[in-house]
Symmetry: C2
Subunit: 400 residues, 2 copies
């Protein structure tokens, strides 16, 4: 009985797979599923979209995108999604996704459109793709890029966009993940970041996001691909600003989490968010002087910091860390509260502090500094606001 | 027994009152209370501070200020606070405050320093004052200013600051309350606004505020008067920007309240806050083109909007209004939920809408417009996000 099922499944997926390959090779315009009407695929025709990553955010974004490609003349309807294969109840995750149209591991309950194809082979995902969306955990980025480079399937005219959050430090300087992609793959890479809690977007709660770009034409393509009525896209010519916001916001959330453990106060919470935004801007401008002020008033800036400080796991774990008086390690708290997932904020906080120390800038970033010092045991969690409560008067800003 | 008590009380307050009068006339340096050490008062000596208003915010601010004047060489230690007299349990509120050092009506439980004197006579409050802090409900401002003008006690060199929130419309233009004070009293008037929930500040939760000023020297004086380690002051040369933030934030809070009734979503909440901030800035710049962008990233801007949208009464009442499908009047909701206090946001929303309609600007302010239309029954509360969920693509911002 089991084998019979397996054989039927194998035949089913082989048909799907052959269809996708034929379809993408330009020799067939057959539909994978009757519900999807494919336009005739030509060379230099509709842009082919591939998503590298299938975690919760990758899965939700694949839904958003494929809703747009279904009805577009610009984009090829089929969206390929790379799945880092794992076995769930004796079945491959990619098979489950293709069969049930649900990513049961990372976004249970959300139905995927029929024009998404989950593929565990990165070469097959990259081949002929015009638009590459990177949404892997940032610690796997370099390995993923090396995999892509090993084969020769990457189109030289392809464009990339990074939806990843995080910062890499090299020689006491932050490196943009989008620049790493650009440099390694030798293709243009934009950035998307915003107030986007994946589970909320899976039920189409109204959200916004910001695309940071360099080239206006590319921005228009990305906006058309991502924009939905419940997911409104702003484009701003400030790649570095948009990406730095996404990387730094989690550090601010730790600060809010520490303070919440001692005194619930909206005044204090909003003050920490405000000071956090200010330090984010100052830090970004240190290394990328052309960063725009208005980026911090966009979805990737103020809105993302607010959502992260209200509903994110960094706040939750930081509060728990403070309740335990900093006696338990982050690993312990992560394993108890997050089922082993890692806290981005703790890692980023450490990386930033190295830079501040190396450049003797700690006093100019009192919030970032105290957050690191609490997170790594030099200071008691209750000192989070005491560093801000100084007798020192603040500088008066007047027009020049 | 009752009469005996009354006589003793009368004698006690007469002594305090005579002391204050003597002290301010420069002929005595006696202390009201042993805990307070008064410097010798000279003409043109320490600046005398008076607060016009004694609601919850006025009372908390009187505590903050008098903690500073107690130990200062710049300010006279005694802070006079004007009380619009009312009778509480057969006793005058001003008497209760002076006797118990507690404003039992508006800030129960918070102990006031000994150097605050509550005075029900506005002439006595104004007489000889160098620094006037206005913190009355804005609908009483003009009456209060007329009262002050009737007498000739106002020093021509006095400076004022407004802590009031609200907007007055004249000829389809917003008028700054600080400008009304300037014009009527012919003295300079600055503005203080920020993320300052009064009850939280009464327990010294860490908070920030922004002073909007025109004159650098005056800004320094106000900063020295207000700044405490738990109440940090930023000064920014943008009076109009700071005041418009305080007036407009309550409208945004209504929007958040409507949306919360239908779907709790951090993405949506932060998007409404962000769009709200954007419309606040755009609206302020329509009438005051010199408003600075950075004002909206200060405590009076982003932080105040966040705190108001998390903890304020406008959110609470707007959610209730939506739960009742807009069937109940605001008056009914206010009387049930706020003990008859008025919602600033509803009033301001109406005033703003008049301007937008008159100037044909509704489409440029979709959030402000839909909030009014929901609040006044033209639209169902659930339409709050639908106006934002459009198919219209947003404008791409690129560097010139």
């Amino acid at each position: 009985m089991f084998y019979k099922k397996m054989v039927i499944r194998s035949i089913f997926y082989s048909i799907i797979f052959i269809n996708v390959v034929l379809c993408y090779s330009g020799s067939s315009a057959n539909a994978i599923n009757k519900n999807v009407i494919f336009p005739t695929v030509k060379h230099n025709g509709p842009l082919k979209v591939s998503i590298i990553g299938s975690g919760s955010w990758g899965t939700v974004i694949s839904k958003i995108i494929s809703e747009n490609t279904q009805r577009s003349k610009i984009f090829h309807p089929i969206v390929r999604m790379y799945v880092n294969e794992e076995i769930i109840d004796n079945e491959k995750l990619s098979d489950i996704i293709n069969k049930t149209k649900e990513n049961v591991k990372y976004m249970k309950g959300m139905k995927l459109p029929n024009n998404i194809v989950a593929i565990p082979d990165i070469d097959k995902v990259i081949e002929g793709a015009d638009l590459l969306i990177f949404v892997v955990p940032h610690q796997y980025l370099k390995t993923t890029l090396s995999e892509i480079l090993k084969n020769k399937n990457l189109k030289s005219t392809a464009k990339a966009i990074s939806l990843m959050k995080g910062v890499k430090i090299c020689d006491y300087k932050p490196m943009l993940l989008s620049n790493i992609i650009e440099n390694m793959l030798n293709i243009e890479c934009s950035v998307l970041s915003g107030s986007n809690i994946a589970s909320e977007l899976s039920t189409e709660s109204f959200s916004e996001a910001t695309i940071g770009f360099e080239n206006l034409e590319t921005a228009e393509i990305w906006r058309d691909l991502f924009d939905r009525n419940y997911f409104k896209i702003n484009c701003i010519q400030d790649k570095a600003g948009v990406e730095m916001c996404g990387a730094l916001k989690n550090v601010v959330a730790l600060g809010v989490g520490f303070s919440e453990a001692f005194k619930k106060s909206y005044n204090t919470k909003s003050a920490i968010i405000r000071i956090g935004l200010e330090e984010m801007k100052k830090f970004a401008k240190l290394f990328f002087p052309n960063v725009l002020d208005e980026t911090f008033l966009d979805s990737c800036g103020v809105a993302d910091v607010i959502a992260t400080c209200l509903g994110g796991r960094n706040v939750k774990c930081a509060t728990e860390f403070a309740f335990r008086n900093g006696q338990d390690s982050w690993d312990k708290i992560e394993s108890e509260l997050l089922n082993g997932q890692k806290l981005q904020g703790v890692y980023t906080s450490k990386e930033i502090y190295k830079i501040l120390e190396n450049r003797d800038l700690k006093s100019e970033f009192p919030l970032f500094s105290i957050i690191y010092e609490i997170a790594f045991g030099y200071k008691h969690p209750s000192s989070i606001t005491s560093v801000l409560s100084t007798k020192k008067l603040r500088h008066i800003k007047y027009r020049k």
